[in-house]
Point group: C2
Chain length 591, copies 2
């Protein structure tokens, strides 16, 4: 049975030592003192460990079942969902006007991590609802907000996002689902949507589907896509539930993982839908909430790696195998624990230094979202827009990679389902795919975000790194282990950016390097986080912090990342600089 | 439904254009002319595609079932196994004295690839038998050989390898299974073995278990381990089957993949066993066949990537999504196929250039085994011994990585079991673990093989690369794209070797870099293969080969590998050079 303990101390370190949240000039942040955030995270961690985590294996083993149009979630999911609702965990950062608690997004994100680590499939029911809530909140009419949001904030009604169709995912312009205007202002929606997470289940009274469809006679392609609310049960004027709408689950998918979440084929057959926002502006409505949704998926990536890591550490301390090459560490036992072996440590340090860096990067991203929204800060908005594909693509690629690495620590037992390590890997795998496959994230980054607003945001990021290096150039404790590697990696990243600029007229050259650039940028971001964390930890030590071991471990972990992960920027640069010719050389027939 | 077509042309290219097998001074190689090897591979490919591949999904979906001590293999497995026996495919490289065909190992390996690509789980029944055959062949008495080998060559009786116990895998010195000598010269074996592939099943009359156990009163630890034959049914003097032996399957494991293979817990309860070779020399007997077994697992790694790649290419050509950034390639269709996009090509070229390089590397390894065995060539023996951990560790890590990459091409469909891409990834995953987890391979390489015979073999390898570079320095067609990158990568590898030598007294420094060194060496080996293949392809083109597209594609694919994969040696070197301090810094309690 896998273990899980919420990393409360580290989440607090990121919020306070690194991001200094309680002293930011952002509305609502003054509430975020150490005691308050600590209490919230501790309670979230308790629920995650005691309620959600034991259901993780149950969800994987039982999966969801469809019978006569009814989807049953795994044993215990419904009761746990009730607990989440009762605790107000679904409403944390939602608008108080609709019953939310109005807390900053960074607080929501910090509290989410334990939930996602403990049971990713379970948490998606709430996560999708939150996404649908955000879209209606940003683009719905007042009447729509009054009708749907209060129930969605509490998760009495859950939500879904319906984008993909059998023949199109990334290229939504190919969409076929049709919307036919009705005399009463509503639409009749007809079509099939696939991969609909939480599309049908037994944990909510109503399900509010957000559906992208094309209004008949509208523009071709992506410019003719509109967004609709299609409730499972129509809602009467008094808020009570009315007739069943023309939407039904066709089947549920057998997937590699996240078995606890019902992934549905949804059939819409003259279903009544209500336009959200303007006609043909559905994609814009989707994009609004994309930064949050993608950051949430990036969080899934590292959160699964965190769970897997915790178990790998426990196993490495427990399992006796071989002897320390420098002399026995457990001389009275038949062998030493795995953790004495350098290659086991190399693996664990890879995991640890990634997860902690990723946590800092993600919460920094959440903080930027708060700054963008609550302070209408355009620079923060531009920066998070630039970072979003990196948060999503890099953290999910690496999160999966390290879930696999953690599984490897277990040897043969890692491959046996009973030990639980396979599930972390299988669950983590989806995060690389959904919410825009990672290749699409790379395309978004290099093809769109780098040049956004005249390249202002990427220049701003480079400036931020430079300023940090400049401000700390006299810090001898940081120089060799942190500042120098960060400088070198940042230089590599700039050189890659330069290559793209020089190849502006040869898009295949730039796009052949997009994936490498995304990873490079991920490393530089984590490198920056680690340099900042090392500085914060050093300051805490200098100030006589009582928990010396924590801060010293933080610095040592950062040193590892800088020495052993950051050098990969040079490899990515070499790949990028080799251009697109070798990538594009073959005729399609010769693959 | 996934597709599979055997890469006959490429296997032939490696055997003849690269390895020039029919002109080697190795007994038996003169049979290997182009027509003969072509006919064998074509027929193997036909069976793989028509018989084994359709059963791959069946095996994954149904799995094996245990009821009342009987394991049932998936529907169709038994009939297919009969076809494999009847075709003589199980006997290809076995000793003619026991009914084998006596073909070189390189021919066996080339014919194995399609079987493994088409259905890895199925092929393991035969693969394990082959391993047990080899151990008895090398170490058994004449009587044992006469009794067991003829039936094992035909797979009428299958074999197993019993090493792992619940508390020990890598560290077999901790083993508890006991062997008690009997008056008649046999032993009574008692203990539990786990992860026994093909431990029990319904496709053979008898199962010959090879079991490691400790003879009571023998030396402690690994030096007290002996090897025993423990047949499921005892064999009478006339060769007929006698009483059921005291060995039984306890349970079968639920695994992440290779569901078609029954992975058993085997319980030995006073089972009659017969010593193979000398007392307490069981590990030596195991090691004899390790090179072949590990090469076979490396082959599994790239063979799964090959299958996944073929499907990814088909999907990328079929699926319409988005437009070529340089202008529509399918202007009359609603969108262009995925394969027009640079990042899709980057991904496919990563896969293709790996698989083809890995194929060459593996068959070169098989050729070295033939040279070592058939010519008693000590240099070849030393070289393959050095290469074995690289073949196993690098090819299975990368094989899995590219099975995941192929799955990624499918977007959301890749995550749905129905499309088959998840199975390739899940099946490929085990190859990184069994037959010595890849971290153990790295330890074997750096901790043992580099220094073997005074470092003679690794120096020989460097010399081989140097000689190739020297011999071809005037070849302008190769210089920039192949020779220069190979030279740089080889220099990185030598620098890493130098670092290890300088740290001979600080084993943690060397071993912290072992995994990186294994990957580095893998890249240099594939780089050498690609340089040689490019040369061979160029010569074929110069000689007016009719299949120009094939050879040109070969060179273009090699160029990709050299430009985009080989530069990772510098990253691995940087990691190695950073030493062991950051790796070993933390107390175990601070992970």
């Amino acid at each position: 049975m896998p273990i899980y303990n919420a990393p409360t101390k580290d989440l607090q370190f990121v919020l306070h030592d690194l991001l200094n949240v309680s002293e930011q000039d952002i509305p609502g942040f003054d509430d975020l003192d150490r005691d308050f955030t600590g209490a919230v995270i501790e309670e979230a961690g308790r629920i995650a460990a005691e309620v959600l985590h034991p259901l993780n294996v149950v969800g994987d083993t039982e999966g969801c079942t469809l019978e006569n149009g009814v989807v049953r979630t795994p044993t215990g999911f419904k009761a746990a969902f009730e607990q989440m609702k009762e605790g107000g965990w679904t409403a944390m950062d939602c608008d108080p006007e609709y019953g939310g608690q109005g807390l900053p997004y960074v607080m929501h994100s910090a509290a989410q991590e334990p939930f996602v680590s403990a049971n990713m499939a379970f948490n998606m029911y709430q996560g999708l609802t939150h996404g649908a809530y955000s879209a209606i909140h940003a683009h719905g009419s007042d009447a729509q907000k009054q009708t749907y949001l209060p129930k969605m904030v509490t998760c009495e009604w859950t939500g879904t996002m319906n984008l993909t169709e059998p023949h199109c995912g990334t290229d939504l312009g190919l969409m076929r689902t049709k919307a036919v205007p009705q005399a009463d202002g509503s639409y009749k929606i007809t079509g099939q949507k696939i991969f609909i997470s939480a599309g049908e289940h037994d944990m909510a009274e109503n399900i509010i589907h957000l559906v992208l469809a094309k209004i008949e006679g509208g523009p071709e392609g992506i410019k003719g896509v509109s967004l609709f609310i299609v409730p499972k049960f129509l809602v009467n004027e008094d808020g009570s539930l009315g007739a069943r709408n023309g939407v039904a689950v066709g089947s549920i998918e057998e997937k590699m993982g996240i078995h606890g979440n019902s992934t549905c084929v949804m059939n819409y057959d003259d279903a009544t839908g209500y336009l959200v926002g303007e006609e043909h502006k559905g994609m814009r409505a989707m994009f609004t909430m994309m930064n949050e949704a993608r950051l949430g998926v990036g969080l899934q990536g590292y959160a699964q790696a965190e769970s897997a890591y915790q178990n790998a550490v426990a196993y490495a301390n427990d399992r006796l195998q071989g002897r320390d090459v420098t002399g026995p560490k457990n001389p009275d036992g038949p062998a030493d624990p795995l953790i004495v072996h350098p290659d086991i440590r190399r693996n664990l340090m890879d995991q640890k230094s990634f997860v902690e860096g990723a946590r800092a990067f993600t919460l920094w991203g959440a903080y930027l979202i708060d700054r963008a929204h609550r302070n209408s800060d355009k620079d923060a908005d531009g920066l998070i827009s630039l970072m979003t594909p990196v948060l999503k693509g890099f953290l999910t690629d690496k999160g999966f990679e390290y879930a696999i690495a953690a599984q490897q620590i277990y040897g043969g037992h890692g491959y046996i389902e009973e030990w639980g390590m396979s599930q972390y890997a299988r669950d983590a795998r989806i995060a690389m795919i959904y919410e825009g496959a990672n290749g699409v994230q790379a395309l978004d980054l290099v093809g769109r975000k780098l040049a956004q607003d005249g390249g202002k945001h990427v220049m701003g990021f480079f400036e931020m790194v430079k300023t940090f290096l400049k401000e700390n150039e006299g810090n001898e404790a940081l120089k060799k282990d942190f500042l120098d590697p960060l400088k070198a990696a940042s230089k590599d990243l700039q050189a890659a950016g330069m290559y793209f600029m020089q190849n502006a007229t040869k898009p295949n050259n730039a796009l052949s390097g997009s994936y490498d650039f995304m990873h490079m940028m991920g490393h530089v971001c984590l490198g920056l986080m680690w340099a900042r964390m090392a500085k914060a930890a050093q300051e805490a030590l200098d100030a006589g912090a009582s928990d010396k071991a924590f801060y010293e471990t933080k610095i040592a972990t950062g040193r590892y990342y800088m020495a052993r992960q950051l050098p990969s920027t040079a490899m990515h640069l070499a790949r990028i600089n080799s251009g697109g010719d070798t990538v594009m050389a073959l005729d399609a027939a010769n693959f």
